[in-house]
Symmetry: C2
Subunit: 126 residues, 2 copies
DNA sequence: GTGTCGTGCAACCCTGGGGTTGCATACCGC
DNA sequence: GCGGTATGCAACCCCAGGGTTGCACGACAC
């Protein structure tokens, strides 16, 4: 999932962020973590691990991924490290997706129109 | 990625669709395919494979995933099978993401408010 | 100071899925 | 009918990453 092949000219201007967000959100455990985090507002890896079916270490790894994706932030508090959700990352990606969707739709309708036009043989009733 | 743990009560009403869409979009090759597809409007696995750095078989598998996620549709045409993008799936997920983001933001601000209030010591006005 | 609790490595296991090759089958043009 | 081409299916390889255990270190309470 880290081996972007060929990299194709970014016609759709795919922001690196979106990539990370998708990868992050693709994992069910990570979505669980986000859910827990958002309803607590604030939590350490240890606390989260308590109420999740995985080890603290696993949670830590997931939090790292989420952090990379800009979906959470961490801050030290004494000997604890507390994480919280950062909705901005999600919003940005959602908007990007909407944009892409629109773009696709537009392209498709153009192509469809062209296809329809081309379909009528030259001898069609104007 | 197929082992949804514990399944947690769907407080955020996570639609099965979103799950699939994230998983689909998380793969770079799949995003490439979508891009190619959308600018052609229409293509068979064989054609796509020609202009991508992978085998036809690989492309086929990816198309299957995209189909599952509702991001493309296929239709037979003679001995060919032509795929095309379905922007609706993306749009739906984008909207869902926006909703979730808003929800998170709301929760967070509530929590923050409560925290601030609680922070002032017991000598608060009854 | 000492025990406890939370964090931060690092090594390691194991499954899933992205990718491949090989072959059988179905359709088209001639 | 026959060759060429597109699809479909199945077996197989390989590695990224999700998960674990074990341990060392830092911070707090007493």
């Amino acid at each position: 999932m880290t081996t972007e092949p060929a990299a194709a000219e970014p016609a759709a201007a795919e922001p690196a962020a979106a990539e990370a967000v998708f990868a992050a959100l693709a994992d069910p455990t990570r979505r669980l973590i986000l859910d827990r985090l958002s309803r607590r507002g604030d939590a350490s890896a240890t606390v989260l691990a308590d109420e999740l079916p995985v080890t603290r270490q696993a949670v830590v790894k997931h939090l790292a991924v989420l952090d990379q994706a800009g979906l959470v932030t961490a801050r030290r508090d004494g000997r604890e490290r507390r994480y919280r959700v950062r909705p901005a990352g999600l919003e940005a990606t959602a908007r990007w997706m909407d944009g892409i969707a629109a773009q696709w739709a537009a392209r498709l309708s153009t192509i469809k129109r062209l296809a329809e036009r081309a379909e009528r043989p030259e001898r069609d009733p104007a």
